[in-house]
């Protein structure tokens, strides 16, 4: 595990506990509990977020791929099917700055491109998890670092 990831793991845990406690206590006295936890939060004890950025994630995949991700390749990869029923765009849409829609359940998904969704690629563990799941659904295997670098380069360059 890279050092930066180690440092980030702690606050994430804190905020998970924080949310759980809040939900549990809120049943009883929502306002008071909210206010108390807020005071703590404002004091800087609990910090939300996984603390990374789309750029930082791209750098990481670039380094692992040993080449810079290419947006044009990423776009082709994203919009084409890979032997299965779905492409990435089947759920995330094209261009992916607008809301997507899950191909099976119809659920509305937040945009995948950072220009349309500030939360996208802000948490390394979350992005890794969905890359793993979605690549398996689309390609029946995990995506390679180069494929991920390409996709991310494409997503970062997709304008609003």
């Amino acid at each position: 595990m890279p050092d930066s990831a180690k440092v980030q793991a702690a606050p994430r845990k804190v905020s998970a506990v924080f949310i759980k406690t809040e939900i549990a206590l809120m049943k009883k006295n929502p306002l008071a509990v909210g206010a108390a936890l807020c005071a703590l939060w404002a004091a800087g004890i609990a910090q939300a977020g996984g603390g990374t950025s789309p750029q930082a994630q791209l750098q990481r995949w670039n380094a692992q791929a040993e080449e810079a991700g290419q947006a044009a390749r990423g776009k082709a990869f994203f919009t084409q099917r890979h032997g299965g029923e779905w492409s990435c765009a089947s759920c995330h849409g094209n261009p992916p700055v607008a809301d997507g829609r899950h191909a099976v359940t119809g659920k509305t998904l937040k945009p995948l491109a950072p220009a349309g969704n500030p939360v996208a690629f802000s948490d390394q563990a979350r992005a890794d998890k969905w890359f793993r799941r979605n690549c398996k659904d689309v390609l029946s295997r995990e995506c390679t670092p180069r494929e991920k670098a390409d996709v991310l380069a494409f997503l970062i360059q997709t304008p609003r």
């Binding site: 939900i23 809120m26 404002a42 359940t105 119809g106 659920k107 509305t108």
Partner: protein, 168 residues
């Protein structure tokens, strides 16, 4: 600057807590685990535990590798938390959803079929609906676990002749 931002987000959190409490957010009161929101709700609406029997939830949770066409396996700790919560609030003996429907599909329980008997088959296939799994298409507060008839909305594309399901 940072401090101000934090205070602002605090304020909104406070408002959010108050409003969701006031709005009778079922899942908040039931202590829905974070993992359910993070993992399951990524792909579909948060189906209420009471819509299946504990046995069906357990069978589903023991087979996440083949979860309706996708590999939805989870970290063991998360899976355990989610399963415990589902089982806790599952349909009890004597309740209408106390069933083990085919493939543990809520949409294949007898009560679901009966409850939706006036929905014409083409309505399920509308672009605005897409799937019977998409509760949100008609049940506007499904995301909060609420399925009251007076919160129904008519999805785009329903014809006057198909309105019956939404009226009685």
């Amino acid at each position: 600057m940072k401090q101000t931002l934090r205070r602002l987000s605090c304020l909104s959190l406070l408002l959010l807590s108050a409003s969701s409490y006031a709005g009778d957010h079922q899942y908040l009161r039931m202590g829905m685990p974070e993992a359910y929101a993070q993992e399951c709700v990524g792909c579909h609406v948060a189906y209420p535990p009471k819509m299946l029997s504990a046995k069906s939830w357990q069978r589903m949770m023991s087979n996440l590798g083949q979860h309706y066409g996708t590999d939805a396996r989870l970290a063991p700790e998360k899976a355990r938390q989610i399963e415990a919560w589902l089982v806790d609030y599952a349909a009890r003996k004597g309740r209408r959803a106390y069933e083990m429907p085919p493939e543990d599909r809520i949409t294949q329980t007898r009560w679901f079929v009966k409850e939706h008997r006036h929905v014409a088959p083409p309505v399920w296939r509308l672009e605005s609906v897409k799937s019977a799994a998409n509760c949100q298409a008609c049940h506007s507060l499904a995301e909060q676990g609420r399925y009251d008839d007076d919160e129904l909305v008519v999805p785009k594309g329903v014809t006057p002749a198909q309105m019956r399901a939404f009226l009685d």
